[in-house]
């Protein structure tokens, strides 16, 4: 299955713009230091770890605090009845395995990468950029981590052969905090932004990464959550200006739920865009944004028939036994689902392939 030419052209155009965006924080920092005649590497004070209430909060969340936060959020979702009768059997096992796997297997793997692989590859480069002032480090990581995440995510939707590695994240017919970690193992273990951030932390941007990853985790989890924290901003007119800025800056439940919708034709759902994780700004900049301030009625993939949890986690090592599934041995790369196509376009467009599932 080949990519749509228009999609390919837009990817290249947006990628070119991304190169400029990646270069902006270092360029601005250079201009700032040059203007103020600062050479921070000659002041050891710059390498110190920041202190204060915000940093204590970050440290708390990066430890067990975050686990407590997401479990509490899950309990709130349960008590509000957000998980429907669809969350049972295979789906429950899948969500629990996907929740446990990153914490029990992937986190130690990434720690090993940071603590053993990087020092053995570049032993003298450790903390080479420890002099970067905190503000600039945060700005650099906001862009380097989250824009890379945006591209990793977007390409798994727009490049047909990559879609099956991301399908698990979209298969659930419900939303909730567990959706954030519901991923194929190979999708998670090869997360590009994790390696980018790990390497930059090794090079000295550790404190900045603590701040960025803490905020990113909160935004990502709450955007997947079935608790619509952004709703009051749309309901009260006085809050509309804040909503306008908020929904264009960060991922909110409304915009990210739209990305997980089962349909894209009702003016609410939009699985062809809204790829941003921490920042929604990337979608606005690249023209992949859809803002409706409403929440979809149905979620997931319309042709989903409950592929076994092990196939969804470990595909392509384990295959699905559901005939016609994209994860089955003889399944299609992207399953044609005419119900998603606009009327009159069914013969012209082969599948939702190039805009990738949901």
């Amino acid at each position: 299955m080949r990519m749509d030419r228009a999609v390919k052209e837009r990817i290249f155009r947006n990628a070119a713009l991304s190169l400029v965006i990646y270069a902006l924080p270092p360029a601005l920092m250079f201009a700032w230091l040059s203007l103020h005649r600062q050479t921070p590497w000659s002041h050891p004070a710059f390498t110190g770890h920041p202190t204060g209430l915000f940093w204590s909060f970050c440290e708390l969340l990066r430890g067990n605090g975050f686990l407590i936060f997401i479990i509490s959020l899950g309990l709130i979702e349960f008590s509000l009845g957000r998980y429907t009768e669809e969350w049972r059997g295979n789906e429950t096992v899948l969500d629990i395995v996907c929740f446990a796997l990153p914490r029990l297997v992937f986190a130690p793997f990434f720690a090993w990468f940071s603590l053993h692989v990087l020092p053995s590859i570049a032993p003298r480069e450790h903390n080479a950029f420890g002099w970067v002032p905190l503000f600039w480090g945060i700005l650099m990581l906001c862009v380097a981590d989250d824009l890379t995440h945006y591209w990793y995510h977007r390409l798994h939707h727009e490049v047909p052969w990559l879609w099956r590695f991301h399908r698990t994240h979209h298969s659930a017919p419900y939303m909730g905090m567990s959706m954030a970690s519901r991923q194929n193992a190979f999708f998670t273990i090869f997360f590009s932004q994790t390696y980018v951030t790990s390497i930059l932390v090794y090079l000295g941007l550790g404190p900045a990464a603590t701040a960025v990853l803490t905020i990113k985790s909160i935004i990502t989890i709450t955007a997947h959550s079935s608790v619509p924290w952004d709703k009051p901003f749309y309901q009260h007119k006085v809050l509309h200006p804040i909503a306008w800025v908020l929904e264009r800056t960060i991922s909110t439940p409304a915009t990210h739920h739209a990305h997980h919708a089962a349909t894209t034709d009702d003016g609410v759902g939009y699985y062809k865009g809204n790829f941003g994780n921490m920042f929604f700004l990337w979608d606005v900049l690249f023209g992949t944004a859809h803002i409706s301030r409403r929440y979809p009625k149905t979620y997931g993939i319309s042709h989903y028939q409950g592929d076994p949890w092990y196939a969804q986690v470990f595909w392509p090592v384990f295959k699905s036994n559901v005939p016609g599934s994209e994860l089955a041995s003889d399944g299609p790369i992207v399953r044609t689902d005419d119900s998603r196509l606009p009327s009159g376009a069914k013969d012209a467009i082969p599948a939702p392939a190039t805009s990738g599932g949901d």
């Binding site: 190169l19 270069a23 270092p26 990793y152 590695f165 980018v196």
Partner: protein
């Protein structure tokens, strides 16, 4: 089938490496360049600042 799956995984890893390499090269290159250029600028000023007094 096993070969096809292995090749698919390798292709996916290659895409991931490219996606990660681009921002890393830009950020690391930018920071290295910042230090080199600013040190050179500061280096030009050093003789003026440390010039021994003739008085």
């Amino acid at each position: 089938m096993v070969l096809a799956d292995a090749s698919l995984l390798l292709k996916k890893i290659a895409v991931g490496v490219v996606i990660a390499a681009i921002p890393l090269l830009i950020v690391i290159g930018g920071l290295t360049l910042t230090r080199v250029v600013l040190e050179r600028q500061a280096g030009h000023q050093v003789p003026l600042q440390t010039q021994p007094s003739t008085h």
